[in-house]
Each structure stands twice: as C-alpha cells, then as structure tokens.
Amino acid sequence: MSVKNPDMRPELLQVKDLVIQYETSDGIVKAVNGVNFSLREGETLGLVGETGAGKTTTALGIMRLVPDPPGRIVSGQVFFEGKDLLKENKVQMRAHRGKDISMIFQDPMTSLNPVLTVGDQIAEVVRIHEKLSRADAIKRAAEMLQIVGIPAERMNEYPHQFSGGMKQRVVIAIALACSPKLIIADEPTTALDVTIQAQVLDLIHNIQQKYQTGMLMITHDLGVVAEICSKVAIMYAGYIVEYGSIEDIFEDPRHPYTKGLFGALPNLKKKVHRLSPIDGMMPDPANLPQGCPFEPRCPHRTESCTQKVPEGIEVTPGHMVRCICCAQGGGK
C-alpha cells in the first residue's frame, strides 16, 4: 500500500459497476463494461489505455455528459461525496458541473469559444455558479489567469491570439475558477508540444497539490502517470484490467496487457535491440469476444480464457487484476 497517501481522507468519488453503451445502427457498442474505482480528496488517479478503450466515455459518464442518443448509461453508480450523481436531476447535475467537478479537455484549440474573450469565458463559469457581479467575476478571471501564469492584461484577447499551451492554461483556469473538488483531465497534454506538456503538467500538478483537489487523469502516456498519479487504472476494451497504487502497477505489473504496455516503452537503463509491441488490435467494442477481451492478443492465453470474462482478483491489498492466470497464482 502506498505510504504517501494514508487512507484517512474521505472518499471523494466512487464509481461502481458503471456500464455505458452506444446504440448505433451497427449494433450496441459496449464502451464501458462495469468499471469500478475510487478516489480520495487530493489523490490523483491515472486512467490509462489506448484509443477507444473507453476512458473518455467513463469521464463523460461521471459528468453525465455522454451524448444521448446514441450513448446511454446502462447501469452502475457514481458516488460523489456520498451522493449518487446518476440519480440527480438535470438542474442538480448542472449545479455540480464546473462547481464541484470540472473538466479539462483534450484539445485546447477547439475547447474555447472563438467569439468570446478569454476573460469573459473564465468569468462565465464564475457567474453561473456564484452570485457575483460582473465586475467581481472579471476580477476573479484576472486572478485565475495569473494563477495559471498568464498576465492579466491579456484577458481581453480572443482565443485565436493565444498559442496552444496558453490556451490550455486558459482551459485550466476555467476548470479551476470555482475551486472544484474534482478535476477530470481528459488527455490534457496530448495536443501539445513535449516541452509545453511538461509545463502544463507541472502547473496542473502544483495547483492540485496546493488546493488538495482530487483528480482523474486520463492519458495514454505512462510517463505522465508516473509523474503525477498516486493510483492507476489500466483500461482495455471498456474493462479496467488492472488497478492499484502507482507502486503496484509500475513495480509489480501482473496483467499481460500492462506488461505489454511497459514492454513497448523505451527504457534508458535497459539496452534492448527492439521494443516489443503488443501484437494485434483492440477488439471492436461492438463485437467483444466472449471471454477475456485481451485473450486474442495475449501471449499467455489458454483454453479457459475464451470461456468467460475473468473476475477481478485482489493479488495484494488494493491491487486488482482481471486475469485468470493471477487467480491460479501465476501471472508473475
């Protein structure tokens, strides 16, 4: 168990058996299949997986922003501070969004309204959730800009006058303006240059440490996870295949998929001739295999893998793996 994060802090977010499906003309796309995880105040959970694994859908599910139709939250519970968000009505839900839970989007180029100044856009969220005058909201917007490292004089400029990294800072300022308890960052650095990535990550991390905000960090970059997360959930085809503290995942990965991910990463210390990629492609979420979703690509597959989806097994306290090899004491 992680020593840095004693489990004394109250649970902030608890996702239980969340199932989200998209009903399309080609059949039902099973995007999220019974996802479980929890997050405490001030903790950062990394949600890792390749494109199409259901990471973003999970995040939208928490916010109840899954586009409906075609998306539908089929079952499950999302407890935020003890309240089930999936049972809240629209008005209550709207009050949570931006105030208690806010989201940082993947592409800063398109997530700002091109016809409003950045100052107005930050003030907007403040004005929606707090009874402040326009002048006070603008003042708050200026403060927020400074917190994210943009001079307040630039608040009257339009998004197209900012660079990508600066835009992402503005998006972060909007997300933080009402001091939310939970931030969902959906691949916040994917669209940015590597140097800017580091700056933005540092900024997010510092702010999160300072305000003790819970954070759900969605990424497909294990380097990002290593830098700022305290817990990790590895997602594959809508399932969380491995879930544990950062030490569990990075030092003792059990699931073949997790191992595959690490095998595909270049390592400075080890000299390898070639990286070992994971063969094959992720299965079509509209047509998942009967058994373990990773079975077709798994180097350790057996006959019994095709029978049914393996249950999650706790290999050490707090470290869950969804693989039958681990149930039989293998997997090492």
């Binding site: 922003l65 989201m103 309204n113 016809v115 409003l116 929606i128 339009y158 909007i174």
Partner: protein, 289 residues
Amino acid sequence: MSENIQIQARKRSQFIEVWRRLCRNRLAVLGMILLVVIVLVAIFADVIAPYPYDFQDYSSVFLGPCLQHPFGTDNFGRDIFSRVVYGTRISLRIAFISLAGSALVGCIVGAIAGFFGGIIDAIIMRFCDIMMAIPRMVMAISIATTLGPGLTNAMIAIAISSVPNFARVVRASTLTVKDQEYVEAAQSIGCSTARIIRKYIFPNILAPIIVQATLGVGTAIILAASLSFLGLGDPLVPEWGAMVSAARSYIRDYPHMIAFPGLAIMLSVLSLNLFGDGLRDALDPKLKK
C-alpha cells in the same frame, strides 16, 4: 476603464478586417453606396420630396419629366418623384419589419431544430420543407389574401413566408457548431441549454445569418411590391408596387409613370443583392487572402 477601451479596440479591429475585404469588392461598394442613398432618402423624405405624396393638381396630369416634376405626374396630377421618395420609406419599413420578424422566428426555430435534433428536428424541418414546396410568392399571396388587404397583413405574410429560409440556414450552421468541443466544454461548466444557444452557438453562426438577412431584405421588397401590385397592400399609401399597378393601364401613352417606381424597386433590390453578396464573401473566412 482601460479594459473597456481595450475591448473596443479589439472588436473594432475585427470589424475593420471585414470592412477592408468588403471594400476590395467594387460591386459590393456600389451596392453599399446605393443602399446608403436609399436609406437617406427614406429618412429625409419630407425634405427631399417637393410635394406631399397625395397632392393632386388637375391642371397638370400626365406630364412627362420636366423641371417642376422631375419624374413627371400621374393621372391625378400627383408628382411621381415625391411619391417614389415617400415610397422608399414604406418599402423599407415593410421589408425591415417583416424581415426582423422572420429572422427572429427563423433563428429560434432553426437553432432549436439544429441543437436538439431527433424528432423535434424532423418535425420542424419537414414543416419547413412543406412551406418551401410552395413558391414564396404564392405562399405570401395566399396568406395575405386570407388575412385581408393592408400593410400590416402584407408584412405578416412576407414574414411567415420567409421563416423557412432562415430556419434552414440557422439549422445547418447550428449543426456544424454544436459538435465543437467548446460547446461540450460549456456543458461541462454547467451552462444551461438556453445559455449555450445564446452565448456559444448564436455568435458563431452570425455571419450566415447576416448574409441571409441582407439578401432577404431585397426579396422582401419585391414581395411587398408584388402584394401591393395585386391590390393586397394599402391603396392610400404610395407603395412602389401599387404605383406600378396603377400605371400599367397607361403604359402605352405615358410609360414614365410605370418606369420610375419600377426603377426604384430594381435599384433597391439590386443594391441589397450586391451588398449581400459582397458581405458573404467578406465574412467567409475561407476566402481570406
């Protein structure tokens, strides 16, 4: 204080950008100048017109253009120039009011259809399709006949028959804007749907609406003139269409009676169309050089 100045400077610079592109288009500038002249004529009709529009002088009927009467006089000895000048006022009023009405309704209906999609969209757009299947002129005439003659009813008829065009343009633009990530971002900060449409969708689709409105004014002027021509306007006011209609029985002997109001209709519609086309090009970011 300094903040306000900065905001204004920024907004003006965007406006200047569009203005420059507009000025590069000679035809658009011509249309704009004509339009300004027409609007000025409408505003200062009392000063410009030498006679009241209903002043009858039976000693000088059917006069051709001369110094006292630049456009000549009609069968009641009324000064055609004065009547055309006052007619500018009426035509522009009908066109702008009916256009404002149809723009308002069309924008709301189109935005709702585009934003919500699904069954609401299907119902609204199929209804628009039905309306558009009937030619606009026929539609306007049938509505105006149902409501009875009169300028207000003509305005209502023109407004109703223009709604589907607006609804289509607004719906199409809404569809492209609503899937933008900033709309999703707006939802994620807790914006209500009405607020999203007002602050996030509407400002982003303003350009096609402006173009549609400018071109729509021209059509509305023609529709208004046509309705008056058919006797569905107010016979007591000097509407261009009504003047053309009254003059048509004298077309062989006194063609000036029909030529000048007709010319007024043509010039105003032409100026609006030239200006509208120019605006469309100037506002289209794809044509930026």
